[in-house]
């Protein structure tokens, strides 16, 4: 599998008053063709910002992006945009209430000017069936649909220009649990049918476990661990990942299989020196307070972690 989309040393900074907020800090990451990569982290960890960078909604302050090995710049963005679509968290805000569903689904084609009106109508009819809604839904408006149905419409819209990568920014978290699995299965089926890649942004590890191939863990804008799903779930290398996994509630299991994380995530306006996780880390040593650990391959298994003790803690 070759890289479909890659980020190299990407940072995103916002000016907040006179201070600088580092929402994303020197992240390097690649999404392979046909792969589902999960981006997990607490709120405020920068995962949505990173998703926006991939979707082209946020210009990185530093670093470079590449699509299929080609560096993205002003000239090559429009082409890559057709291949990258985004699905948002809130199905109530993602669809224009004044547009009939047929126009919503065909909108990317209209913007890109790649299809005439008849072709767009045909494509919308084809897609609405693929996402499991009746054809007469095309003539209706978003407010006539439930949250799950709307999310299906949003997915149909994202599929319209035959993309290769879909950024899904917490697409399930606004839905009822019973609907979540339906949409999740739909996303899986569509992936198989269209050989899609997903960048799946989530804070819900249980959902992640059902869908993804690889997991990237973000903490305070920094990538702390990347690895294949099974290995990462079985033996998390970074103490933050471990704490995150331990905090997943399980029916029937006794509480506190490990130590849940204590405290709050520090403000990204004033990140701690050294390892950003050290104020909450149960294993923190002196070195953690002064030196920033780099993301490096693990000795024992596939994957990378940014921890000074990555090979000792497992």
């Amino acid at each position: 599998m070759s890289d479909l989309f890659s980020l190299d040393n990407v940072s995103v900074q916002f000016k907040v008053g006179r201070k600088i907020l580092r929402a994303v800090d020197r992240v390097s990451l690649a999404i392979a063709e046909g792969e589902t990569l999960a981006l997990v982290g607490e709120s405020g960890s920068g995962k949505s910002t990173l998703g926006n960078v991939v979707a082209g909604l946020q210009v990185p302050t530093e670093g470079t992006l590449a699509f299929k090995g080609r560096k993205l710049d002003r000239a090559s963005w429009p082409v890559a945009r057709r291949a990258i679509q985004i699905v948002f968290q809130d199905p109530f805000g993602a669809l224009d209430p004044r547009m009939p569903v047929s126009d919503i689904i065909a909108e990317p084609l209209r913007i890109q000017g790649t299809a005439n009106a008849a072709e767009r109508a045909a494509r919308a009819a084809e897609l609405i069936e693929q996402v499991g809604l009746p054809v007469d839904a095309l003539n209706r408006y978003p407010h006539e649909f439930s949250g799950g149905q709307r999310q299906r419409i949003a997915i149909a819209r994202a599929l319209a220009p035959r993309p290769q990568l879909i950024v899904a920014d917490e697409p399930l978290s606004a839905l009822d649990v019973s609907i979540q699995s339906q949409v999740l299965n739909l996303m899986k089926d569509l992936q198989a049918a269209h050989s899609l890649s997903y960048l799946f942004i989530s804070h819900d590890l249980a959902v992640v476990n059902h869908l993804v191939d690889r997991i990237a863990v973000l903490y305070l804008g920094r990538l702390v661990e990347v690895g294949p799903r099974a290995e990462l779930f079985a033996g998390p290398a970074h103490p933050y990942t471990r704490a995150l996994l331990a905090s997943v509630p399980r029916i029937g299991a006794r509480r506190s299989r490990g130590r849940a994380i204590v405290g709050e995530m520090p403000s990204p306006l004033a990140p701690p020196p050294g390892c950003v996780f050290h104020p909450r880390c149960p294993l923190a040593q002196d070195i953690c307070r002064t030196e920033v650990p780099m993301l490096a391959p693990l000795a024992a298994r596939a994957g990378e972690a940014a921890c000074h003790f990555r090979d000792q803690v497992a």
Binding site: L57, G93, D96, E107, P108, I111, D136
Partner: protein, 305 residues
């Protein structure tokens, strides 16, 4: 199967029209406005084939009561009141519509640009708007009235024709009446541009022009339509104020506004002369407001059911 497909081909305008037809007050207002337009246009056949003239005076027939030839009687100079109401209505309605359309379009443009682009463009446009709001109406009108049009490049013929008063009033109204709409549109645009559907259009490569036309405008249509209809009513009243001050539509050319202010000297002797134009202004303003209500619900898909 095929039935549902043909239904899918119905465009959004057709759906809006269907919803509008179901709104009784809106439909009634539309019919009233159509009737008003036909009424004011009826002046043309009366002038061309009936040989009547709205400005023809007959001092021996002052305040004549209604008769077969002059259905609403004659005014203080013996002119036919019905014909003057028709001709004056043409001018009043046109001033109302044009003044609102020009001023409103300008306000929408300023507001949407300020709201969408934000930052320095927003600051610049809004300070300009504040400046316009700070200008007092009447001194502005007096200054505008004193401008010698031949000095700024208009031909002598135009500057002294009857049409100049009409265009002057449209320009003045457009200048003073766009600020409220600009602020309204700016606020609505700022809220909309951060919505996910606008962002996903941007992620698909949509430019500013497309986003404004396809997402922002349809979503601010409701408040803008209401603001427009309120403005039409206000502009018709403003025209009468300005005409009263001798600026704008100058007698003998009639407008509902100047007929009304003309009639106030004689309100005891001939109350009908004030009642007719007053009633027409009232009906127009009410009908336009109901039309606005009807359009508002037609444009809002959620108003259904």
């Amino acid at each position: 199967m095929s039935g549902s497909r043909t239904e899918a081909a119905i465009g959004p305008w057709m759906l809006r029209w269907r919803r509008f037809r179901r709104n009784r007050a809106g439909m009634a207002a539309l019919l009233v406005l159509v009737a008003l337009v036909l009424f004011v246009l009826a002046a043309f056949p009366m002038q061309i084939w009936g040989g009547m003239n709205a400005d023809a005076t007959d001092l021996f027939a002052r305040f004549d009561p209604p008769d077969a030839a002059h259905w609403l009687g004659r005014d203080e100079a013996g002119r036919d009141v019905l014909l003057r109401l028709m001709v004056g209505g043409q001018i009043s309605l046109l001033v109302g519509l044009l003044g609102t359309a020009v001023g409103g379009a300008f306000g929408v443009l300023i507001g949407i640009c300020a709201g969408y682009f934000g930052g320095k463009i927003d600051a610049l446009l809004m300070r300009f708007t504040d400046g316009m709001i700070a200008l007092p109406l009447l001194p502005l009108v007096i200054v505008m009235g004193a401008i010698d049009l031949t000095k700024i490049g208009f031909s002598r013929d135009f500057a002294h024709s009857g049409a100049v008063g009409f265009w002057r009033i449209v320009v003045v109204i457009a200048i003073v009446d766009w600020t409220a709409i600009a602020r309204l549109v700016r606020a609505a645009t700022m809220a909309l541009k951060e919505r996910d559907f606008v962002r996903s259009a941007r992620a698909s490569g949509a430019g500013a022009g497309y986003t404004m036309a396809s997402h922002i405008l349809p979503n601010i249509a409701t408040p803008v339509i209401v603001a427009f209809t309120l403005t039409v009513g206000r502009v018709i009243l403003l025209e009468s104020t300005l005409s009263f001050l001798g600026f704008g539509i100058v007698p003998p050319t009639p407008s509902w506004g100047n007929m009304l202010s003309n009639a106030q000297d004689m309100v005891i002797n001939a109350p009908a002369l004030a009642v007719y134009p007053g009633l027409l202004i009232l009906i127009t303003v009410i009908a336009v407001n109901f039309l606005g209500d009807g359009l508002q619900s037609a444009f809002d898909p959620r108003a259904e059911r």
